[in-house]
């Protein structure tokens, strides 16, 4: 019994020394983790707070991302809700860049929404947490141009994104603008560009864009 007590005291003492030795390091890592998390109040809700406190931030952001994709796909969703959902994703993972690309352009560029203010807000938040991301600046530039009706600047911004990033929604916007320009000017260069993007859209992730691409390619077959 006495032997066991002495053993417990010695081992316990060793444990305390180890914990004291690493405590300042653990505090530093903790501080660093705190600093890298989302610092605003937007997106705060019982669900996001629970996810954050229980250590499921990334899983929570993935689930909210799926929700966002499905909601946008259903087409009967209000812009406010898309913005809200995007804020919730940011609250959990502010470095999740696709959230800003997708949500920012959807609320700004889909005709039924056309909320450029929301688009700016979402994309600016993205820029705040991801200042080194080169595409987010182009997205912002494109939305800014769209809000002013500056089609040429919009095309420059969005086409530079499409050189490296796969974004079917954006591709659809660019193809549509080129088609409209062709209809107005009858300049074949424009429709060739539109066909180029529809061709790429044939293997889009969303069925809607696949169908649209096939329909348009069929319509403008002679330029294909």
């Amino acid at each position: 019994m006495l032997k066991s007590r002495i053993y417990n005291i010695i081992v316990g003492f060793m444990g305390i020394i180890i914990l004291i030795y690493v405590s300042s390091y653990m505090g530093n890592v903790e501080g660093e983790l705190y600093r890298m998390q989302y610092q605003g109040e937007e997106g705060k809700s019982p669900i996001t707070i629970n996810n954050k406190l229980m250590g499921f931030k990334k899983f929570g952001s993935s689930i909210l991302w799926i929700k966002q994709v499905l909601d946008v796909g259903s087409f009967d969703y209000k812009a406010e809700r898309i913005k809200e959902n995007s804020e919730k994703i940011s609250y959990l993972d502010p470095y999740f860049i696709s959230n800003y690309y997708f949500s920012g352009t959807v609320v700004a560029l889909i005709k039924s929404y056309s909320r450029y203010d929301y688009g700016f807000e979402i994309l600016k938040r993205g820029l705040k947490y991801n200042p080194d991301d080169k595409y987010i600046k182009n997205y912002l530039g494109g939305v800014a141009a769209a809000s002013k009706g500056d089609i040429e600047s919009l095309l420059i911004s969005f086409e530079s994104i499409l050189e490296d990033v796969r974004d079917d929604r954006l591709m659809n916007v660019v193809a549509y603008i080129y088609e409209e320009k062709y209809k107005k000017t009858k300049n074949k260069e424009y429709i060739k560009k539109a066909v180029y993007y529809w061709d790429k859209m044939q293997n889009a992730k969303e069925e809607l864009y696949q169908k649209r691409a096939l329909k348009k390619l069929d319509e403008y077959r002679k330029y294909n």
């Binding site: 019994m1 417990n8 653990m26 903790e30 990334k58 502010p94 470095y95 997708f102 796969r166 974004d167």
Partner: protein, 251 residues
């Protein structure tokens, strides 16, 4: 040492032959494999969704198994009276507990290894980019759940009810993640009693926030050795407390 290893081996065998335990594992594996279907609805972010959901599910299911097996450990054996058979042999209470905890920790390791291996296979199949961070995430899940094992066993020794032991262990798991918020709350509160309680909790609760590598939002360089030492130190102290309580417990 022989006795400890024998008890550990028996604990592993006992867990593997437990029906409920196997049902949890089977269901966990099924759900992890089902994450592949999320691919269809996760537009451009298939890998992220499968990766994050998979790691979450591994931790969640192994956590359920861990809490269930550790928090009921001593209580179940006392109720079934099987504990007397072991303690009448030349096995001290310290050896008994150490053997049991070792067996549970190895079981947790095996579970994480199996589920982690399957998720790895799924990620490779989905052509996702997998870095060393995946390995770190699994190791840190193992660290976290090893601490849950000793905390569960501690409550199993202290408590007289399986339900309260399970609830307390789960509460510690949640509080361990919100540890920094407890500290911040303590800094803001002026009431000295509440402040002291919160600071005390901050000092004694396991730091699951730092051990939650799968949820690190950005890459940071970590000292793997120091974090491993933290886990070791915490395990040692909790084991000593368990031994002290268990030695005084009337069975």
């Amino acid at each position: 040492m022989k006795q400890i290893i024998a008890i550990a081996k028996f604990t592993i065998k006992e867990n593997i032959s437990n029906r409920l335990f196997n049902a949890f594992i089977g269901f966990g594996l099924f759900i992890i494999m089902s994450t592949v279907f999320l691919k269809e609805i996760s537009l451009y972010e298939e890998s992220k969704v499968i990766y994050d959901s998979g790691l979450f599910l591994i931790e969640f299911f192994v956590l359920l198994i861990t809490i269930f097996t550790s928090a009921t450990l001593v209580l179940k054996e006392t109720k079934e009276k099987s504990i007397y058979l072991v303690l009448t042999k030349p096995v001290t209470r310290n050896m008994y507990i150490l053997g049991k905890v070792l067996g549970l920790i190895v079981t947790v390791f095996l579970n994480i290894a199996i589920m982690g291996g399957i998720l790895y296979g799924i990620l490779v199949w989905q052509k996702a980019q997998i870095s060393l961070e995946y390995m770190y995430s699994l190791i840190f899940i193992f660290y976290k759940l090893s601490l849950v094992v000793v905390i569960g066993v501690l409550f199993s020794v202290i408590s007289d009810s399986v339900i309260t032991a399970n609830m307390f262990t789960f509460s510690i798991y949640i509080l361990g993640h919100a540890i920094y918020e407890l500290k911040m709350l303590a800094d803001k509160i002026e009431n000295i009693v509440v402040k002291s309680i919160l600071e005390f909790l901050y000092r004694i609760l396991p730091n699951f926030r730092v051990l939650n590598y799968k949820d690190y939002l950005k890459h940071i360089d970590i000292d793997f050795g120091k974090i491993s030492l933290y886990v070791l130190g915490y395990l040692i102290i909790t084991m000593v407390i368990i031994n002290i309580v268990f030695n005084r417990k009337k069975i």
